[in-house]
């Protein structure tokens, strides 16, 4: 059961590009252990929403809180710190570094964020990969598409994030791998104790989320909850 703690709270979000409105008073909260899918046609603003959550794009107005910490009015460095500590992200193309093995790839964000509180990143990376069924001692180049995406998922989890974002995580996969990765992703919030926000235009993928929203009239309309 999702708890009552909000790992992401978006209130009264407005986003305009010149005279074009993308978001108009958008509200959204994601609870700990909960997965939310955002559906929407191309150009509706799904990626923009993720950018705003990441603090990479400034909204026209509105407040963003991540795990209780507000992103508003913070310096770029502060935002980066919150981002590094609290958010993990899965990209459409796995974006793995082919010259490094999967374990190195997964450990990299931990090394980059210099999270000293964390126990050995390599040990954790190895555990995550085993849990996600990725073979350890192989070249990243020879991983299959699904394995690559699972490696990317492990990488998103290495810093023990409170919130995992995914932008079209299954966009580049075939039907079978897509199902596997979707299953994996939706299992994360409960398994690892975080919130999850997936942007996709694949209805099948969205349907497995706890809650589904549709971008309509520049805000999020509920499109159903899973049983």
């Amino acid at each position: 059961m999702p708890s009552e703690v909000n790992v992401l709270a978006i209130a009264d979000l407005n986003l305009k590009f010149r005279d074009r409105t993308i978001f108009d008073n958008l509200n959204l909260s994601v609870r700990d252990g909960e997965s939310i899918a955002i559906l929407g046609p191309s150009g509706s603003g799904k990626s923009s929403l993720l950018s705003i959550v990441l603090g990479l794009m400034a909204p026209t107005s509105g407040s963003i809180r991540i795990d209780g910490e507000t992103m508003n009015g913070r310096s770029a460095d502060d935002k980066a710190k919150i981002r590094a500590d609290k958010i993990g992200m899965v990209f459409q193309f796995a974006e793995l570094l082919p010259e490094m093995n999967p374990v190195d790839n997964v450990a990299l964000p931990a090394l980059l964020s210099k999270n000293t509180a964390m126990r050995d990143p390599y040990q954790r990376a190895g555990e995550l990969l085993s849990e996600l069924n990725v073979p350890l001692d192989v070249d990243t180049d020879s991983l299959s598409g699904g394995e690559r995406q699972r490696t990317a998922v492990a990488r998103a989890l290495i810093n023990e994030p409170r919130l995992v974002l995914a932008d079209e995580p299954t966009g580049s996969l075939d039907q079978k791998s897509r199902d596997l990765v979707a299953e994996l992703l939706y299992g994360l919030p409960r398994r690892y104790g975080c919130g999850m926000l997936i942007a996709t235009h694949d209805l099948q993928v969205a349907q497995r989320a706890d809650r589904i929203f549709q971008v309509e009239n520049h805000r999020l309309e509920s499109a159903g909850e899973s049983a």
Binding site: K46, S47, S48, L50, S51, L54, L56, M57, A76, D77, K79, A80, K81, R83, A84, I87, M89, F91, Q92, F93, E95, L96, L97, P98, E99, M100, D104, A107, L108, P109, A110, L111, L112, S113, K114, P121, Y122, D139, D141, R155, L165, D167, E168, A199
Partner: protein, 735 residues
């Protein structure tokens, strides 16, 4: 119905727009423009050298003498006697003495009227360079300049003199000339410019050197520039070919994309070219003045060369536009078999170095000396790629492991990159290392030739000039000799050298008793062969073919039939040669003044000056090679950084790029520059160990510096670009 637009226009436009999107901060735009600029200037340089050498040869031909036959009319004859002279630090030049016999005598090139007796015309370069030696007064009264059309180039040292005392028709040293100029002499060019042409470096050799040192590196620069930051372009080409695009379409897109940068580089080069065509060029370091007129008279050749460079650059860009698979930087680790083979080859590297550097000394003065040196050098060049590849891989593994242990993302990323793709990294640093080794080899060979000069200069330092030789080949008067001696401000003793006109006889020094006493030499009436001539001067003592005894007599008498005098400073301090040459004007005959042993120095001067050309072009070539490795390594860095962008954007660690690109760009180039220089200086040791002029530490320092500059500039630039690209990254921008 509207007409379907031509596919060329469409594709060109697609490419043009793509080019403006400036992937990776437009790094390709700038490097391609730079390479075009450099390439065009290289071609223009070669055309310019051809143009100048054609014009020089033409003017040299205009100075070829046509000698009088037996039927020549006397009024058409000019008598010419030519002497060598030199400035204190110049090569030799010729002084031509003229006595026209009649009104129809032909004026030498560069004069529009005959000088009066005693008048002198000098080339502007001689006038300028000889100013502190009062060259204007050395041969008589300076009247004016030899005009430029009479000189092969503006740097030529040349003097025309009409002597006070007319040259004599019956003198063996005097030539009878009835005309100047030849249409197409074959072989050696004689006459006015004979000596200057003798000193010329071979034009074909110079061009060959430029092709190797400048043109090839520039072509490499064009190639790596066209390939840099190619991720988006590769995808586009892939896409276009999937959509049914053919090679011609890709070509037109490539043309549209590269046209602006190539065009700008070309235009900048044209601006420089037009400027040089307008005002000429004073080439630094070597001090050669290129005349704008010479270039302008071969404008077609020069414009043609520039166009050729444009065509070649276009061909390179078009040749790369191929139907490609997306070039995933395939980075499978090197296979063990390959690594083993590389290790074996790399193992031969120290062996080659040892053969080239240490073995020759055991074979001194045998042919094996040079053979071993060559075998070693070739071995070093052949084993260098594998060695550097292996070193890169090892260094990468070390770095990556260190990164894992110390949890340092930068070391891990950079190390993994180097370890996974050692050959890509090794390729450009190998080019750099080889460039440096070859640079030192060329310098060493030129240094062997020029080495004489340095040695001769040391010799001059050691012995000094407290003894001067003055030859009066013709009879002169004792009054002239006295006036001459009085014209020298330092105290000088005049001694003469007498050589018996018998084969096998040695010569002796003639001096008066007073002179000998002033030189602290006991005055004895008989010739004393045991006498230490070194007491007169250390140099005379060391002069193997010089006088062996002293005869006490009045040396002034010798002047009556032409003699060689020794001027010795009893205070053992220097005599200023230019001043002695000036004082020699007191003689009505032509006098030669020289320091014993100085011919050595003067003779090696042309090689010394040629070494400066080698140095200049070699350094330029190194700078280009440095740019090639900087651009190529930045390309490797971008391949890594573009994949890192999403991660670093989220971690907010974009400043780490300074460190990553330091490891991938600046440090490999820096280490290679130092290593290449050390290997280069080492491998040439057997060549330079017996020559005093060897490429020294200052040369090495400049070479390393020249290469490092591009590495450092590229390090900073590439880091900035990667940081900006990362800061621009947003979810959904899947580049």
């Amino acid at each position: 119905m509207s007409r379907r637009p031509d596919f060329r226009t469409v594709c060109f436009r697609i490419g043009f727009r793509a080019g403006r999107s400036m992937e990776s901060g437009g790094v390709r735009f700038h490097t391609l423009a730079l390479s075009m600029f450099v390439l065009t200037l290289n071609f223009v340089l070669i055309a310019g050298i051809v143009a100048v050498s054609i014009e020089r040869d033409d003017r040299a031909l205009a100075g070829v003498a046509e000698y009088a036959g037996t039927d020549a009319k006397e009024s058409e004859i000019v008598l010419v006697e030519s002497r060598f002279d030199n400035l204190e630090n110049s090569r030799q030049f010729e002084v031509h003495y003229f006595t026209p016999l009649g009104v129809d005598a032909p004026l030498p090139p560069g004069l529009d009227r005959w000088p009066e007796p005693g008048q002198v015309y000098l080339s502007p370069a001689l006038f300028e360079r000889g100013a502190d030696e009062s060259i204007a007064e050395r041969f008589g009264d300076f009247e004016g300049f030899i005009s430029n059309d009479g000189l092969i180039d503006q740097g030529e040292l040349l003097a025309y003199v009409r002597p006070q005392t007319d040259l004599r028709v019956d003198d063996k040293r005097v030539d009878k000339v009835i005309d100047w100029g030849s249409d197409g002499a074959t072989g050696e060019i004689s006459g006015i410019h004979w000596l200057a042409k003798q000193h010329d470096f071979s034009v074909a050799g110079l061009i060959a050197f430029i092709v190797v040192a400048l043109v090839l590196p520039s072509l490499a620069l064009t190639l790596v520039s066209a390939r840099i930051a190619a991720r988006r372009r590769d995808r586009r080409e892939h896409l276009v070919s999937i959509l049914g695009g053919m090679r011609k379409h890709l070509r037109w897109i490539a043309l549209g994309e590269s046209f602006p940068s190539i065009g700008i580089g070309f235009c900048l080069a044209l601006v420089v070219m037009v400027f040089v065509l307008a005002v000429g060029l004073d080439i630094p370091v070597v001090g050669f003045e290129v005349s704008a007129e010479d270039l302008r008279s071969h404008i077609l050749l020069i414009v043609g060369a520039a166009s050729l460079s444009l065509a070649i650059a276009a061909a390179i860009v078009l040749g790369l536009a191929r139907r490609t698979k997306i070039r995933r930087d395939s980075s499978r680790l090197l296979s063990d078999q390959r690594l083993r083979r590389m290790s074996v080859i790399a193992g031969l590297f120290p062996v080659s170095l040892a053969v080239g550097v240490f073995l020759p000394r055991f074979f001194a003065y045998t042919p094996s000396y040079m053979i071993l040196q060559w075998v070693g050098t070739i071995g070093v060049l052949l084993t260098l790629p594998a060695t550097l590849g292996l070193l890169t891989a090892r260094a990468g593994r070390l770095l990556a492991n260190r990164g894992r242990r110390r949890q340092d993302a930068v070391l891990l990323v950079a190390g993994s990159h180097l370890q996974a793709q050692p050959r890509e990294t090794a390729r450009y640093i190998t080019g750099l290392a080889m460039g440096l080794v070859l640079f030192f080899l060329v310098l060493a060979y030129q240094g062997i030739l020029a080495g004489d000069t340095e040695e001769a200069m040391q010799y001059r330092e050691y012995y000094g000039t407290n003894t001067i030789l003055v030859r009066t080949p013709d009879a002169a008067s004792i009054e002239e000799l006295r006036a001459f001696a009085a014209g020298i401000s330092e105290p000088v003793e005049v001694l003469a050298i007498r050589t018996e006109d018998r084969p096998g006889s040695t010569s002796s020094v003639i001096a008066s008793c007073e002179t000998l006493q002033r030189l602290d030499i006991p005055c004895e009436k008989q010739a004393d062969s045991k006498l230490d001539l070194g007491k007169i001067d250390a140099l005379i003592g060391a002069w193997s073919s010089g006088p062996k005894s002293i005869v006490v007599e009045d040396p002034s008498e010798a002047v009556l039939e032409g003699a060689t005098f020794l001027l010795v400073n009893p205070e053992r301090s220097q005599i200023e040669i230019p001043e002695v040459k000036l004082a020699a004007n007191e003689f009505n005959v032509i006098v030669a003044v020289e320091a014993p042993g100085r011919g050595w120095l003067i003779g090696s001067m042309p090689h010394y000056e040629q070494a400066e050309w080698v140095m200049l072009f070699g350094m330029c070539g190194l700078a280009i090679i440095g740019a090639v490795s900087a651009v190529a390594s930045a390309g490797r860095f971008f391949a890594a950084s573009s994949r890192l962008a999403p991660l670093t954007a989220i971690a907010g660690m974009s400043s780490q790029y300074y460190r990553i690109s330091a490891w991938l760009v600046a440090i490999p180039i820096g280490l290679t520059a130092v290593m290449g220089t050390i290997i280069g200086m080492w491998i040439v040791r057997p060549l330079t160990i017996y020559a005093t002029k060897s490429p020294g530490w200052s040369t090495a320092g400049v070479a390393v510096g020249v290469v490092l500059i591009s590495g450092i500039v590229m390090w900073y630039w590439a880091s900035r670009i990667a940081i900006r690209d990362t800061e621009r990254w947003r979810p959904g921008s899947h580049e």
